[in-house]
Amino acid sequence: MIWTRKDLLGLEDLSAEEITLILDTAASLKEISERTVKKVPALRGKTVVMFFVEPSTRTRTSFELAAKRLSADTLSITASASSLQKGESLKDTVKNIEAMKVDALVIRHSSSGAPHMLAKALSPSIINAGDGSHEHPTQALLDIFTIREKKSKIKGLNVSLIGDIMHSRVARSNIWALTKLGANVTVCAPATLMPPGIEKLGIKVTTNLKEAIKGADVLNVLRIQMERQKDKFFPSIREYTMKFGVDLEKLKEAKKDVLIMHPGPINRGIELTPEVADGKYSVILEQVTNGIAVRMAVLFLLLGKKK
């Protein structure tokens, strides 16, 4: 299997082999971060720009460290500090960055499809670090990397995604990759946060948390986006927590070795109780560690062989 793509825009288009290649590459790169000198020269002389038009700490830091550990030069631009504030279009802003001869652009944007638009127009590699409610490929890859590390397989596992499925790019990317790798995926959300037609993606759909937890090997619990509360998808945070929050009591229905995952940032006491978030089933911080390895793998595959 040889990587041939210029960009990483999403997991919908990737084959199971391509996904596995990224995961295998990540596995071999993971130990670099354990060394005293956390750096290899693989991407020396390459320039990677982080262009985050939507707030992010975890993903941006993770990409930046991943690039640095491969010896790439990095710089970071945020929307508030960019000329988008002066009314420049996204494409023009990015074309200017391209003119400075960069090799890759890691982009986060609140509009679905923004990275795709740029990928068509630009020559540097575009890496989607989250576009609207569409895809967040590296997050799903690190989720799956973590599952594979813990369970030694993906095929046949029962993975439940719980929370705001409608607005979640993490959920969509996970659905694509997990189904391609043979997991049994269940999504669980209040009916008002369940996007139409999602059952056609070959997954189980439920609005009953108990059903989503029962027999699960993995629960990937999504963040409730407080800023969406004004759109009244559910009556109150209190009621959401009662019906869709995961606590130790509800967790009894899951398999004994269930993994609790969360893409962060967590609303403690809302979608997860602190006992669950910090408890023995939780691999939330390991996800963060693995995020660097996965992003190193993506950067390496996209840029490593580029002349």
């Binding site: 919908e12 509009s111 923004a114 638009m117 609207g132 139409p196 037609g197």
Partner: protein, 425 residues
Amino acid sequence: MSILIKSGRVIDPKNKFDAVSDVLVENGKILKIAKSINADAAEKIDAKGMIVAPGLIDMHTHVRQPGREDAEDFHSAQVAAAKGGFSSITAMPNTNPACDNRGIVEYIISEAGKAGIANIFPIGAITRERKGEDLAEIADMKDAGVVAVSDDGCSVKNAQLMRKALEYSKMFNVLVISHCEDLDLSQKGVMNEGLISTVLGLKGMPSISEFSFVQRDIELAQLTGARLHIAHVSTKESVAIIKQAKKIGIDITCETCPHYFTLTDEAVKTFDTNTKVNPPLRTKEDVSAIIEGLKDGTIDVIATDHAPHTEADKDVEFDAAPSGIIGLETALALSIAELIDKKILSYDEVIKKMSFNPSNILGLTQKGSLSQGAAADIVVINPDKKWVFAKEQIASKSKNSPFIGRAFKGCAVITICNGKIVYRI
């Protein structure tokens, strides 16, 4: 100036005429149609193998003047119209300022007339500034020359105000054209709601946001007895509701646009903002229902909803792009490709939906036919001509079409407006 069009297949749906004939035009009027005419015309056109029909009439055009002359203006819209076989277009009132008073109506009529390439008939707003709050001076605009009123781009949200608009318009025999959309249901939506919007993570506009207002406005039309025309029908439910209403004798008409019988929401998967349009591209089932509605006569008119937007405005994130696609230069070719070539409609039926029916609905008695004495608005169609819709050749100032690059068979080769040849390949 006289023109003699020889040996074409003359199709004139109003007069139920379809035969190889000659057409003689003099002083801007149709003088005579006969099997063989020998006259000393200034211009002789050999139309052998061609179709000669009344000039097409687009009852749904956004001309953008005044306000966005960078996207389109009276002149460029007329050039694009003539190229597409249209000798008459309308001017929807969502300009800046909105066409909501006599002054703007008079401005459009006098300014648009200067180009003399295609007729432009203004449509006035239903409410002042299209805000949906107070009725515009509909009677005065009618006197000034509007052919209908519409708040197109928005629905009149307040049902009571819509009722008054219909009652009031009826009194002056003004047609009301309704853009049917419940904004509470479609708010912030950028494409059809369904599997594709779910996959793309784009906010959806459900079909019900359209057809619930189609139902509402039909009920109001029945209540008031006013003439109502439903713009850009895109959903299967709307077609069913309109069909039922017509069956029980409610006086309504409706239109669809070529993109609604050609494309589905699958086209949005490219994130090409030229697929962003309102109402949005729907599903395969909707496309089938639209085609069925065209076939069984539920849908009276094929209109373009020609909505020019500059490349700068369209070449942005999907969420940020304005809705709309241009249609004047592709409407006829798409109707040939999707309806005639697929044996859904005959040439006669397509010409009827693109010429006679719009003239009839808008009350343009001199247009839409080849009757003796009618305005000499004529299109000559070469049904076999192969061509490609290339971006560089678009006559409209704006290039926002999802059909760029598509190969077609059949197009207008000559367009005549008021007895003058305004386009010739």
